[in-house]
Amino acid sequence: MLFELEDVTYSRAGQVVLRDVSVRLPVGASSLLGPSGSGKSTLLRLLNRLADPDSGRVVYEGRDVRDYDPLALRREVSLVPQLPALIEGTVHDNVAYGPRLAGRSFNARSCLELAGLAPAFEERDASKLSVGEQQRVMLARALALDPRVLLLDEPTSALDRAARDAVEGTLRGLRARTAISLVIVTHDIAQAARLADYVVRIDSGRVVAQGAASELLDEIPEPELATAEDAT
């Protein structure tokens, strides 16, 4: 099992965001699915110790995440946050940021190519890219750390349909070409069906269902799937 969360509770500013959450995420592509404000992005941040739970345990590959060096864990379990989160400078500056801190070598062009960006993007000003391109730069930046797991927080929420399809294609290509596991936060049921093998449904800080995507999403009525598709 890649991740196991055992009776996790997390509060922010006195408000309970996650309550007694127990989740198992297998190797491969998983989706944390739920409406806005349900706690799924917070759960994602617990996986690489950007936050720690008030109670309960988060286990990564059999070890409590608190037993890992947090910086090493974040390089291995790399988060691609929601926009805007780029560093001032060029695309190269962004891709080089993590490897330079870690003192590692990296190949910027191969990371850009994996993220679906042409090498010509390397010297462009990151702030002048389209939202879809910025999303890919954040993906390339995370890939430059050579991670084993990518945590993707609503990777297509700010994109139009064409850009969304392109990013989803990139993620599918990533799965086909690498052994990287994906944990994708989304509010879009149809997207979870397209990208994930395993789905955890979260609502109001509680897990309401989890299981193989093929079984779990089959139980969702057709109109709900159609509504999600229309909304994107």
Partner: protein
């Protein structure tokens, strides 16, 4: 080199101070005419300045008469503590800002006064240490408060960007480095600008005081230059120290933002 103090002194009567209140009346009239609602604040400011300066006048007289180094240290310590309390109210966005402010003001005052004495600029006597110490602490307090206020605002505004860099394996110090530069600049820029324009747009207080007291203009200018340079050093130490000590307070030991951004 030990600089001479004013070669002569002037005597100011209570009547002269009372006469100066006429200018306060002008301020009150202006506020009332334009319904600015500042009359109460002006009144409080006048009363507080009267009480505070009279009290400190007696304290300074006592310290000068006693010629006690320990009393100087005690007075400067009280000023540092009050300065840290006052600055804390402006640095509201910084968690537990009191201790970084206290440390920064103490180090700025000790380092600056120690240096001017070691370089032979001033004698280590109450007559020099008390007024210079007061100026150093006051300016250091403003610089540290402005720097931390800016740092708190920037960390709050850029929390998502900071967390994104933490997610790439940055330490908490590395994640706030771009903000530290801006905060340091904010803390120091006011004094740097006023140093640039001194003598052109305004006469600084020490020089004016010495001229009024009858000192030679050359001495007044030299002393003012020394104080401006001393203050530049003091505010840089205070701002940098406050930022260095306070930036850790935004994070846990596991390099997590204490107040995480709303997802």
């Amino acid at each position: 080199m030990i600089l001479p103090v004013a070669v002569s002194s002037i005597h100011v009567t209570v009547g002269q101070v009372a006469a100066a209140l006429a200018l306060v009346a002008v301020a009150v009239i202006a506020s009332r005419s334009w319904h600015a609602g500042l009359e109460d604040d002006i009144g409080i400011a006048v009363i507080r300045s009267l009480i505070q300066l009279t009290a400190i006048g007696y304290v300074i007289t006592l310290i000068f008469d006693q010629d006690s180094f320990l009393l100087v240290i005690a007075l400067l310590t009280v000023m540092v503590v009050f300065g840290a309390f006052t600055a804390r109210q402006r640095a509201v966005g910084v968690p537990d800002s009191f201790w970084p402010l206290l440390g920064s003001l103490a180090v700025a005052a000790a380092a600056t006064l120690g240096l001017v004495v070691a370089l032979g600029i001033f004698d280590p006597t109450p007559r020099y240490l008390v007024p210079v110490g007061g100026m150093v602490i006051g300016n250091a307090m403003t610089a540290a408060a402005v720097a931390l206020n800016r740092l708190g605002e920037d960390v709050h505004e850029q929390s998502k960007r900071i967390e994104a860099t933490l997610a790439l394996g940055a330490t908490s110090s590395q994640a706030v480095t771009p903000l530290v530069r801006r905060s340091l600049r904010s803390g120091m820029i006011t004094l740097i600008d006023s140093t640039k324009t001194t003598g052109l747009i305004f006469f600084p207080g020490t020089m004016v005081g010495m001229l009024l007291a009858g000192a030679d203009p050359t001495d007044a200018v030299r002393l003012q230059l020394i104080l401006l340079y001393v203050l530049l050093g003091a505010v840089s130490i205070a701002a940098l120290m406050a930022i260095t000590l306070a930036r850790r307070n935004f994070f846990t030991p596991a390099h997590q933002l204490r107040e995480p951004p709303a997802p």
